[in-house]
């Protein structure tokens, strides 16, 4: 029973990982790629780790895996934020189909 639930969670995680990587290939510029991959790959890896927890049951490995999950959820958006800001500051232009661009108007005012 545990193995069945774990398998379902692992399959969901693998699917989201795959969609994240597909977004990394298909989207046109850095910011959209960052969005797709940061969301999907974080949730996908969380699904895989939860599947591992279902397989192993309660024990030392599961606790470490849950700590690893919390750590990934806390750090992945922070690094995505830092990368997006650094890309804007280093002068990478957004895609040509961008509709509004409020940030590049205000970029010099913010330290």
């Amino acid at each position: 029973m545990n193995e069945a639930i774990g398998s379902v969670l692992i399959v969901i995680g693998l699917a989201f990982d795959f969609f994240g990587c597909l977004g990394l290939i298909r989207f046109p510029d850095v910011y959209t790629r960052l969005q797709a991959s940061a969301k999907c790959i974080t949730l996908g890896t969380c699904g895989i780790i939860l599947g591992l927890v279902c397989y192993k049951g309660f024990g030392a490995t599961s606790i470490k895996a849950l700590l690893c999950l919390i750590f990934i959820v806390l750090t992945a958006p922070v690094s995505a934020h830092a990368l997006a800001r650094a890309a804007y500051r280093s002068g990478v232009k957004p895609w040509a189909g961008t509709v509004v661009d409020d940030y590049s108007e205000d970029m010099d005012k913010i330290k």
Binding site: F16, L22, Y31, A36, C40, K64, P77, T98, D102
Partner: protein
Amino acid sequence: MIFNTMMFMIWFSVWILLSWPIEIKDVISGILVALFVMFMTTGVMGPKDLSGRKNISLLGYLGRAMWFVCYVFVFLWECLKANIDVAYRVIHPDLLIRPGTIRIRVSLKSDIGLTFLASSITLTPGMTTIDIDKVNGVLYVHKLYIKDDDRKLAVVDKFEHILSRIFE
């Protein structure tokens, strides 16, 4: 004082969970390391920039913990919706995107609250935080599909309401 004790408990439990089959040497080294980390981090997260943090009673912390549990569930639901949305946009043949960066006004003041708001915006529907202007209270957000009336967003309001109960 209550804040310091709470942070000590958190770091100590992290240490204990990382070295799970507990022996007596783990407990002693855990207490030493947790004390050290607590004194190092109260300068960053502590009462310095969160005015009024010292006066919160134990009951106040309990209420905050309840709101935090509520926040976790709301966050998980929004995160799942966002992922399904992004997956749909990725596999669609026409790539349904109209990207752009917009300003969003927020009323949160504390550093930790703003960090949590920015992180949860990054993991929920179609948005990534790019920059925070703390003086004017403006969040710059890159959005995957911009509609015309997007200056005020319901998701951000919901998170802000919950986070102002926790961190302000």
